[in-house]
Amino acid sequence: MAQMAKKNEPPSLTTLCWCFAVIGIQSFGSGMSAWIRREVVDRRGWIDDPAFAAGLALSQISPGASGVNLAVFIGATLRGWSGALATFSGMMLPPIAIALAAGAAWAAARNNAMLDTALNGMGSAAVGLILANGLRLMRRNIRDVPGALVLAGTTLAVGVLHLGLLPVLAVALPVSLALNWKR
């Protein structure tokens, strides 16, 4: 990651803003981090996978909307203050404008049943987008049995048992750090 950052020029602010505008417009539901990874890691190579996963974890751990946090994190990593502003405004302003227009339209006319069904189907596919992102991240971030155990424990605790994020992290973080300490 360090070598890569030295070799490659960081992207221009316009490129950053445009890239995240495309991400913001394309992402539906909650698959934001999947879209960001696809653009920033796979297609443009600005950040490698371990660095992305760490940024993703820090964005998820920080309070607030994790996709928005991740955009700010990546902007700040690549270009500091102005980079964070570029990724945030690129990703947020077009969807906010669309939301305001949709909100006004909704106030005028309510959803019908067919629209609800279509939205549900779209939501189901969006869950697949999130799970696929998890599978792709797994390939390059899970290298050994301890890593797999931390992954399984975190998924179970938050996704199945619905334990709060804070108590789960209070256990998972020290355990994962201890497992990686000597290597």
């Binding site: 417009i25 992402s27 539906f28 909650s30 999947a34 696809r38 760490a54 993703l56 974890a57 820090l58 998820q60 309070p63 607030g64 909307a65 996709g67 928005v68 946090n69 994190f73 990546i74 700040a76 990593t77 203050w81 964070a84 969807p95 906010i96 669309i98 939301a99 305001l100 909100g103 006004a104 909704w106 069904t117 939205l119 549900n120 189907g121 779209m122 939501g123 189901s124 596919a125 869950v127 697949g128 987008l129 799970l131 696929a132 998890g134 599978l135 797994m138 899970i142 890593g147 797999a148 931390v150 992954l151 975190t154 998924t155 938050v158 996704g159 994020l165 998972a172 994962s176 750090l177």
Partner: protein, 173 residues
Amino acid sequence: MFETIFQLLILFGGLSLLAFGGGIAVIPDMQRAAVDVHQWMTAQQFLDIFALSRALPGPGSLIVVLIGQKAAGIAGAAAAALGMYGPACLLVFFTARAWHRARERAWRRIAERALGPIAVGLTFASGLVLAEGSEHDLASWGITIAATLLLTLTEINPVPVLLGGAAIALVAG
């Protein structure tokens, strides 16, 4: 009017800092505040706004813009967005800078290896929680699994996959 805008700012500023694990976690608190406490809308209207926010492009947390708009128009929407994203983004900005400065340090390599599995676990967990929250029936799971396989095994663009999900739901329903 000014009172409502102030309430929106305080409400979402506070909730955003409690929203560990993404905006979905504080949806129940948002509903209680918007419907019961401040009475900006009915419970049914809140449900409509929630469905709408899931269908719109952008992060799911954009629901705060719709709540703000319903409560106090454009100014309300701006106040809600400022409250929701301002403090949280500042926090993550300083985290990112500190992280970036430590890029040559040995502890960052260790932390990176330690955080990787946690990020993957939280990603799977958010998928599972969302599926549960949207009352996933058999057809919905079929769509979810098909989308997961397609997006993992091929380099297909996700937009047609999302639209395909909508089309299959319409045909199956």
